[in-house]
Structures are given as structure tokens and as C-alpha cells.
Symmetry: C2
Subunit: 427 residues, 2 copies
């Protein structure tokens, strides 16, 4: 396929690429074996196999269990605070020490070297939900969770620039030493520490190395799957990313993903203090310790605009789901004489230029039927608006639902404030 770079003067880079390049042919039964990404399959099946066999045959000591959880946090933060928020999004600066600390932690999560990971992730953000998005959520939950790596992709991800990472000292160091680093960080360290400290080599190997590894991996995968499926579009609903506390709990805080796709260079995923975002807390504490700086935050004014838009949108939906009074123009214009005449056969009342049929309401009237009866065939505007009782906005809204006509010559009245029920004034 010819290499097309953005900025080639096309209207839309994504549709242009999709039009002018061909995907690989779909995988068939015959081509399956040659299309499988064996490395990914191995990484995704061997650790669970070891974990299940190991867990059945190895007693879990509480020290090892606790250590496995802590090591889960350490290697998880390598991905979330390191791979994701530091390298893929450059949402803050980290000291050299912290960079090495995170690069090693990230290696322990066995998700590929930083540069490869960030390249895919940047394409995911830039071409979200399109065929140039490597984890395209429109292909289904399992595709975005793991499917995308098990088979060789039908298309190259869209172009994304990682030249900054190609030049980065720590990224290059990790790349060059990737294989030894994963062996050390994913297996050796979590086995040896429980061995040295409380003599549980086997437990460390099973629980802190492999069981922990499975959790960290699927935790990250959930950001591509669950975070594009479960929850609310709090800031924008153009694409699939969603905000949900459950996803946040599964992913060290990456579950406020709708926010994150709108403001990817923000070091936070959760903006409220009470939302679960330990990755944000970790970065913030690192700043207090002098290890991190230049924490980027999107202007609050713009964040709130996104929220406002979605909230207004939801209220518009409520508005549309409600029944509103007939429009002036749909109502017949009735003369005073005709009104008085018709009132003899059905209970009609005029209030602010509109004629209302109160048949179903007389007996229901909270102020008593007698008030309504007294005003049949008459104009009750003054009585309704305070002459007798200054009705609530709710009463006014309800009144407007009973309109059956406009009084001829009463139209002047029908444009003033009293003619517009309160719930329609803000529309």
C-alpha cells in the first residue's frame, strides 16, 4: 500500500486513506495459521496457564498475596503513569530516576516496549472508532480487548508521530534491553523478593509474577474495551469512550475515559477529588517529591463547556419526551360570543387570551370545584394570577395543557408573559 501522510491536502485524511488503500484480505480458515500473531497468543495464554495450574497447586501466603497486590500496583502504574500519561501523552515531565522507575515497572506488565505501545495508542486517539484505530471499538468488545493483537491487523494503524520517543534516552534504553527487562521485572523480581523475605519462592513465582501479570494485562486491555462500552459520555458523545467508576476501579483510574479522550494531555482522568484515580494521585505525589513537574491541566472553562453541552443535550431529550401545550397557530380562533355560547354545553374558561376546556379537571381542582364552576364562560385571568390565588408555576404549566382555542381579539394578551407557561420560558 502506498504511504499516505496527513497534510497531503485532502479533505479528510481517514476517509482518503480508506478509499485509496486496500486492507489485507479477510482471514479465512485456510489463512488462519499464517495470520495468527503467535507472540501475542503466547503472551496471552502462557501466563494464565501457569497461573491456573500454579494456583491449584500452591498455597497462598498472606505476605505473598499482599506483595502481589503491591506489585500489581507498581507494574500497573508503569503502564498508566508511565507508558500512557507520560510517554504516549506527555501530560507531565518526570525526572530521569522516575522515568527509569516507570520504564522498568512497565516492562513488568509485558505489553511491548514503550515506543510500540505509544505509537498504537496515539493512533487510537487520533483515529478513534475508525478503521485506522488499532483497537477500533466498533469491531466489538472482544476485538478491542484482545482480538486486535491475536490476528495480524487488516490495516496499518493511521499515521502518528513518535519522533519524540525515538530520541528519548529512557525509551531507547528500554527498547534495547527489552527482553532481559521483562524477564527480570515480570518474573525474577516478584519471585525473588518473597523468597528472600519470607522464603516463598514458589508463591512469588505463581502469584506475584504470573497471576499478577494476568491481572495487569487485562486491566490495561479494559481501557480499550470496557472504557469504550460501559458508562456515560459526560463530555462528548461523538465517539465511544465512556466514564465509569467500575472501569476506573479495574484500571488504576483510567476509567474516566470520556474525559480522557476529550482532554488526552491532561494528567488527570478523574477531575473530582472523590473519584478513583490513583494514577493521578501517584503523579501528584511525585510532583510533591520533586520527581515530576509541568503537570498539564486543560483549562477548566473548556472542560465545563463539554459537560454543559452534554447536560443540555440530555435536558433537550427530556424536553422532547414531554408533552407540550398546543401551539398558538394550531388552535382555532374563537369569538367572545361563540365562547359564551359554547360554555353552556362544556366548561370553558378564558385565562390570558386562551380558552381552556376544564371538563376533566373541575372535580380535581385542589382549590375546590366551586372556584372553577364560578368562572365557566368568564375570563379568570386576574383570579388565576393572584386576584384570588397566585397559582404555582406547576398550575400554570398544567393550565396551558387544557388550551382548546384562542380568544379573538385576546391575542394581544396571548403574547405577554402570562401566556407563556413557566416551563417554556427557558426553552
Amino acid at each position: 500500500a502506498p504511504k499516505i501522510l496527513p497534510d497531503a491536502g485532502v479533505e479528510n485524511y481517514v476517509s482518503h486513506v480508506l478509499k485509496t488503500t486496500k486492507p489485507l484480505p479477510p482471514v479465512t480458515f485456510d489463512t488462519l495459521l499464517s495470520e495468527i500473531n503467535w507472540i501475542a497468543v503466547a503472551v496471552l495464554t502462557i501466563p494464565p496457564a501457569i497461573s491456573i495450574f500454579g494456583a491449584y497447586t500452591t498455597k497462598l501466603r498472606w505476605e505473598t498475596g499482599l506483595f502481589a497486590v503491591l506489585y500489581y500496583f507498581y507494574t500497573g502504574l508503569g503502564i498508566t503513569a508511565g507508558y500512557h500519561r507520560l510517554w504516549a501523552h506527555r501530560s507531565y515531565n518526570a525526572s530521569k530516576f522516575m522515568q527509569y522507575f516507570l520504564a522498568i515497572a512497565g516492562a513488568g506488565a509485558v505489553q511491548g516496549p514503550i515506543k510500540w505501545w505509544a505509537r498504537g495508542h496515539r493512533a487510537h486517539h487520533r483515529y478513534t472508532d475508525t478503521e485506522l484505530d488499532p483497537y477500533n471499538a466498533h469491531e466489538g468488545f472482544w476485538y478491542s480487548h484482545v482480538g486486535w493483537m491475536l490476528l495480524k491487523p487488516r490495516r496499518k494503524p493511521g499515521s502518528a508521530d513518535v519522533s519524540d520517543l525515538s530520541k528519548d534516552e529512557v525509551v531507547r534504553w528500554q527498547h534495547k534491553n527489552y527482553l532481559p527487562l521483562i524477564i527480570i521485572a515480570a518474573v525474577v523480581v516478584p519471585s525473588v523478593i518473597p523468597w528472600l523475605l519470607w522464603g516463598d519462592l514458589r508463591g512469588g513465582y505463581v502469584y506475584a509474577a504470573f497471576v499478577r501479570l494476568c491481572f495487569v494485562q487485562h486491566s490495561t486491555f479494559c481501557v480499550n474495551s470496557l472504557a469504550h462500552w460501559l458508562g456515560e459520555a459526560s463530555f462528548d458523545d461523538k465517539h465511544t469512550p465512556k466514564d465509569h467508576v467500575v472501569t476506573a476501579l479495574c484500571t488504576l483510574g483510567e476509567g474516566y475515559h470520556n474525559f480522557h479522550h476529550q482532554f488526552p494531555m491532561d494528567y488527570r482522568n478523574a477531575i473530582k477529588w472523590y473519584q478513583y484515580d490513583p494514577t493521578k494521585w501517584f503523579i501528584w505525589v511525585s510532583q510533591q517529591l520533586g520527581l515530576a513537574s509541568h503537570l498539564k491541566v486543560f483549562p477548566d472553562n473548556e472542560v465545563r463547556k463539554g459537560q454543559l453541552t452534554m447536560q443540555l443535550k440530555r435536558l433537550r431529550e427530556t424536553q422532547e419526551s414531554l408533552v407540550w401545550p398546543s401551539d398558538n397557530n394550531d388552535l382555532p380562533v374563537i369569538s367572545w360570543d361563540a365562547f359564551v355560547e359554547q360554555s353552556a354545553t362544556r366548561p370553558l374558561i378564558i385565562i390570558s387570551g386562551f380558552i381552556h376546556d376544564v371538563a376533566a379537571f373541575v372535580e380535581e381542582h385542589p382549590g375546590g370545584a366551586h372556584w372553577i364552576v364560578r368562572y365557566i364562560g368568564k375570563d379568570a385571568t386576574t383570579a388565576f394570577f393572584g386576584g384570588v390565588y397566585d397559582h404555582s408555576n406547576a398550575a400554570h404549566n398544567l393550565l396551558a395543557m387544557k388550551r382548546v382555542g384562542v380568544l379573538h381579539g385576546g391575542v394581544r394578551l396571548a403574547v405577554d408573559d402570562k401566556a407563556i407557561p413557566p416551563a417554556q420560558r427557558l426553552k
Copy 2:
């Protein structure tokens, strides 16, 4: 003062009455003793005195404690389900048996006979927050809690019709036998039951009769004070009533008072199942048992309109608290040549007919500074809207904040969709 009835053809009954009638002179030190309502003072001070002395000198047995709580619920429901929702608001029909049951329970709360209570309460609803409202919340928390009854009121409450109650068999029966009824229901029954069942006459007298009575009374008073002070105006903010769960907990569910003032004939105060409204539950269960019928519910369509209005109002406030892009008409119109010339000295970019100064943003740009730099002095409309990257709505909102001019002849563009940032499209 002359008696003025509503429907006298005045514009506003309340202001008319206030203008044409004189209040009693303010209470002074000299007139204090003769202006005090001694019955109310007795009812409000003797039970607490007995309670405090009694509680210091009487051991509380758990059976008596439990019974006092149950008796609190019984007599409380007499007020909330009986006096208030049945008689004052006619929000449902009750069988004769249930009416007597509630009339006796209500007597046990010692808050005056039904007719007197409902008359004041109807005036409170009809003239809320005015000087014709007997518990006028604008007079302060303590006035609406107890102050209004300790001194003789300066004005008669506004007119309110209780002719339905004057004719009511149970209301009349309670009225005629009110004194014996309160002695029996407030003191005798709650003393005798613990005495007969577990031999605790003194405990019953102190805890189930008097301590319980103090709680029931102040619980009801809270509906006039706390419910007009604490919480949110969820349905309408024209008057002081508020919704709050704490008030609901104190008042057997009468704390959703903003709803209640908008929809006083609704048998519910809380509309969601998870909100605390035991009075509603009690009425509903009575219906299941065939003791109550015709439970009135305001049309959901109108209830939601009130809510919608308030929610829109709150979003309008957010909208006004945010900074929005300069209006087209406030921006200078700049020619293409002037734009190119000025771009030599400061970073200007054209997107959809607007000229943007991106000085503060180049280094911050999440897509990298180079993209912006490349477009200085150029039109980046296509690149910004997908030619390179189809920016998020957030980016589009942010872009609009950087407007410094309109391109001469680019105005056609400036009226299409791309010119209106997403957050402004729903306005």
C-alpha cells in the same frame, strides 16, 4: 379590620389585603404579657420540662424505648397522613375506620384540632412567604418553627376555605371531644400500655408520653422551618420551600417540601422509591388493605416540566459563569494581505474564516508544536477538521477562544457549522 374575601375583583388579593387592612401594633415590652398565647406556651414548655426531669430520674427500659418510637410513628402519622395529607390537602380518601384511627393519632400529637390546623395550613400554602402566611418563613427560622404561635399573630391568616371540614363527621367528632382525646391519646394510652404489658408505668409516662410528644411536635414544626430553609428548590424557586433528605428523616417524609408546595394534592412528597417518605408508604399500604382509595398523583408530565425548568435554569447559570469566545461583531475584520503581514510578527492562523492568535498555545499543542508552526500565516481549516486530524469538540471550543479577527471575505465560511463551536450550538 374589614373582612375582604378573594374574588372581590382586585388584581392581587394579598397586596390588596395588606394595603387595606392594618396589622395589630408590634408587641412591646409593655404589651408583651397580654400578647402572649399562654396555651401555646404551656403546650411547648410543660412537656419538655416533664421530659427532662423524668428522663433524669427514670430508667429507660428497652421495651419502653421501642414502644415510644412506635408510638412516635403512630402519632406522627396522625399528623402527616391524617391532618396534613388527608384533611388539609384531600390527597386521598380514607375509610371511616382509618379516619378515626388517624384523628385519635393526631390528637396524641397535641397540635390543635384538625379544623384549626388545616385552616392555618391551607393559608400557608395559599399565601406562602407573605404576611398572610401564618408561618411566613421570611420572618426567620424560629418564627416559622414556633414563634408564630407564642405571640398572638399581628395579622389574621389569609382567607382559606375549610367548609368541607366543617361538614366532616370525624373532624367534628374530634373537635367536640378534643380535650378528653388528647389526654387519652397523648398521656393515658402511652402510659398504660407499658404498665399493663411490662409493668413500666413511670417509663411509659415519661418516655412514651412526654419525651415522645416533644419529638412529634418539633418534628412537625420542622416542616414549617427546616423544610423552608435546608436543601434544593428542585421543582420551582419562586418560594422558600426546599427538598432535603435530612428534613424528610426528621418529619416522616415531609422533607420533599419543594415538591409538596408545587403539587400539594399529590399524596406523595417523595416521588422516587428510594427517597424516605414513610407517610407515602403508609398511605399506599392502607390502599392495598382497602382502607384508602383515590390516591391523587399529579401528572408526571407536569412534574417533570418543573424539574426540567430548574435544571435548565441551573445550566444557564453555569453557562453565564463561563467565558465564551468574542462575538463576531466585536472582532476586527482583517484582509488577507494584512493577515499575512501580521503573521510575520505573531503566530496567526485562519480556521473557518476566523483569525486566531496561537502564541500561548504553540508549545502546548497536544499534536505537537510543528503542526501549528507549519500553518502560521495560512488557512488551516481543512487540516483542523480532518485533513490532518479531526479535532475533538473540546479542541474546537478551545480554538474559538483564540479568535482575534474575522477574515475579510471569509465571512461566508464564518456562518457555517464549523464556525460555531460545539458548546454554543445548543444555546
